[in-house]
C-alpha cells in the first residue's frame, strides 16, 4: 500500500465474512494491520545473522591460512621450476621442443589447480544474500572436506566420510550449510589433537525418518563433558586454548534453526564427541 508521505508500507488484512440473517454474505469485516515494522525487524535480524555468519566464515578461513598458502604454493612452485626448465631448454643450441611442450602442458595444469583453490575460497567467503536452493547434502559435505583435506593431512587426522546414497535433496543456502560443516570439522580436528594415538574424524549422512536428513560428525577426542554440553552453543563460549571466537557453534545452530533444522550433541557411550545436524528434506523430494 503506497502511502502519500511514508512511502511503501506492508499491511496484513484479515477478511471475516458478515453473514446476514437469511442466507448469503452481506459483506466482509476487514482487519487491517500495519506490519511494516515487523517486516523490517525480520529483515534486519536476517541481515545481522548473515553478517555474523560471514564474519565467522572469514574467521574460520583465517584458521586455514597456512593450509591455503601451502595449497597455492605447491602449484606455484611447480610452475616456476617448469618454466625455468623450459627456458633452459630453449636456450640450448638445438632445443628439444617435446620437453618444452610437456613443461608448458604441466604449467597450464598447475595454473588451473591454483585457480581452483582460489575459486573454492572465494565461493566460501563471498558475502551474498541468503539463497536457498535444492542441493545434495553429500556434495555439500564433500566440498568442505576438499577445503580442509590438506589441513587434516598436516595434522595427521584421518577424515572418513560415509555417505548414504540417494538421499533426498535439502533446500538450503549452500554456503551457510558448508559453514556449519566446516565448523564441526574444524572443531573435530582441534578435539582429536589431544588424542595421542590414531586421530579419527567420521562424517556420516543418513535419512532420518521421512522428513529429514542427518549429518553426524564424530571425533575420537576427549569428548564433551556434561557441564559443557549445555554451554557449547552459547555465544562466546570457547574451550580452545588458542582462544577461538567462541561463536562457531552458536552461529551454526542459528543457521540450522533458520533452515528448520537442528544442531545437537549426541549422547553416546562411544568415546569422543558426536554432533548432529538435522535438515528437513526439500518439499519436492528428490
Amino acid at each position: 500500500v503506497p502511502y502519500l508521505a511514508a512511502g511503501k508500507r506492508h499491511v496484513e488484512v484479515d477478511y471475516v465474512p458478515h453473514f446476514g440473517q437469511e442466507a448469503g454474505v452481506l459483506g466482509f469485516f476487514a482487519f487491517i494491520q500495519d506490519v511494516t515494522d515487523r517486516r523490517r525487524a525480520d529483515a534486519e535480524s536476517q541481515r545481522l545473522r548473515d553478517q555474523l555468519a560471514h564474519v565467522s566464515r572469514v574467521a574460520s578461513m583465517g584458521e586455514l591460512t597456512a593450509t591455503v598458502a601451502h595449497e597455492l604454493n605447491q602449484p606455484l612452485s611447480a610452475i616456476l621450476s617448469n618454466a625455468q626448465a623450459a627456458l633452459r631448454e630453449l636456450s640450448r643450441e638445438d632445443p628439444r621442443l617435446d620437453g618444452v611442450r610437456s613443461a608448458l602442458t604441466d604449467i597450464v595444469a598447475d595454473d588451473k589447480r591454483a585457480g581452483e583453490v582460489i575459486r573454492r575460497i572465494k565461493s566460501f567467503l563471498r558475502q551474498t544474500d541468503e539463497k536457498r536452493e535444492t542441493a545434495d547434502i553429500n556434495t555439500i559435505i564433500e566440498e568442505v572436506i576438499n577445503l580442509i583435506h590438506s589441513e587434516a593431512q598436516l595434522r595427521k587426522v584421518k577424515i572418513k566420510a560415509r555417505y548414504s546414497e540417494r538421499l533426498p535433496h535439502v533446500c538450503v543456502d549452500r554456503v551457510q550449510i558448508q559453514q556449519i560443516i566446516l565448523n564441526l570439522l574444524m572443531n573435530a580436528l582441534d578435539a582429536v589433537a589431544k588424542a595421542g594415538r590414531q586421530k579419527l574424524v567420521d562424517v556420516e549422512t543418513e535419512l532420518c525418518g521421512r522428513s529429514a536428513v542427518m549429518v553426524s560428525v564424530h571425533d575420537n577426542g576427549p569428548g564433551i563433558s556434561s557441564d559443557q554440553v549445555s554451554r557449547i552453543f552459547e555465544p562466546f563460549y570457547s574451550t580452545k586454548a588458542a582462544g577461538g571466537l567462541g561463536m562457531g557453534l552458536a552461529i551454526s545452530r542459528a543457521i540450522a534453526e533458520a533452515h528448520g533444522g537442528e544442531l545437537t550433541v549426541v549422547e553416546s557411550d562411544r568415546p569422543g564427541a558426536t554432533l548432529r545436524l538435522k535438515l528437513p528434506i526439500a518439499s519436492e523430494g528428490r
Binding site: P75, N82, A85, R113
Partner: protein, 206 residues
C-alpha cells in the same frame, strides 16, 4: 668422479616432476620419491648425492625423515624446501645438519647453488671418509706392541719413558717406532700424532 645424484622427495606429484625436469636439465641424475619412507626403502644412497626434500609431507615430515636418516648413519646432505619456514623449524633442521633451507617457490639459481654446495660437501665428506677408512686399514696392520707404542708417542712421551712404561729397552722402542711410522705411512712424528688423533675421534664417533 661419479655423476652426482639428486634425490627429490615431495608428496606433490607436479612439484616432483617439475623439479626433476629442472635438475635434470643441469645434467644431474635425479630420482624422485613421494615420501621419506620410499626414499629410505630404496636401498643405499649413492655418493656424491644430495636430498632435496619438502618439509611438509603427510606421512612423515621432512624433519622426521632427516632424523631417521641420521639414525641410520646416512650423511647425505639435505636441502629443505618449505612453503613457509618458521624460525623454530629451520633452526631444528639446521641443527640436525640440513645444508640449506629454501622457501617455495624456489628460484633456479638459489636451488642450483644450494645443490652444488651440498654436492661439494658430500664429495668432501666422501673423500674424508675414504681417508678415514685408509687410516683404519693401516692401523689394523699394527701389532699389539706397535699400537701401544703409537698411543704413548701420541701422548707425547719420550722414548725413555715409553721404554720404562712398557718395560723394554730404548732400542726396541726405537725399532717399534720406526715400524709404526712405516706402516702408518707417516713422514714425521707430528703427522703420526695427527693420525692417532683422527683414529681416536673416529673411534669415539662410533
Amino acid at each position: 668422479m661419479d655423476e652426482p645424484t639428486i634425490y627429490v622427495v615431495d608428496d606433490d606429484e607436479s612439484v616432483r616432476s617439475a623439479l626433476k625436469r629442472l635438475l635434470s636439465s643441469h645434467g644431474t641424475s635425479v630420482e624422485t620419491f613421494s615420501s621419506g619412507m620410499d626414499l629410505l626403502q630404496s636401498g643405499p644412497l649413492k655418493s656424491p648425492a644430495c636430498i632435496v626434500m619438502d618439509v611438509r609431507m603427510p606421512t612423515a615430515t621432512g624433519l622426521e625423515v632427516q632424523e631417521e636418516l641420521a639414525r641410520r648413519g646416512i650423511k647425505t646432505p639435505v636441502i629443505f624446501l618449505t612453503g613457509h619456514a618458521t624460525v623454530p623449524t629451520s633452526v631444528r633442521a639446521m641443527k640436525a645438519g640440513a645444508v640449506d633451507f629454501l622457501s617455495k617457490p624456489v628460484d633456479e639459481n638459489d636451488l642450483m647453488s644450494a645443490v652444488y654446495g651440498a654436492l661439494n660437501r658430500d664429495r668432501g665428506a666422501e673423500a674424508e671418509r675414504a681417508k678415514a677408512r685408509e687410516l683404519q686399514d693401516r692401523y689394523a696392520d699394527l701389532s699389539g706392541r706397535e699400537r701401544q707404542v703409537l698411543h704413548l708417542v701420541a701422548l707425547g712421551k719420550l722414548n725413555k719413558q715409553i721404554a720404562h712404561e712398557l718395560n723394554i729397552t730404548e732400542k726396541t722402542v726405537k725399532a717399534h717406532r720406526g715400524k709404526v711410522m712405516a706402516k702408518m705411512k707417516a713422514s714425521s712424528v707430528a703427522q703420526l700424532v695427527r693420525m692417532a688423533d683422527k683414529l681416536a675421534t673416529a673411534e669415539a664417533e662410533r
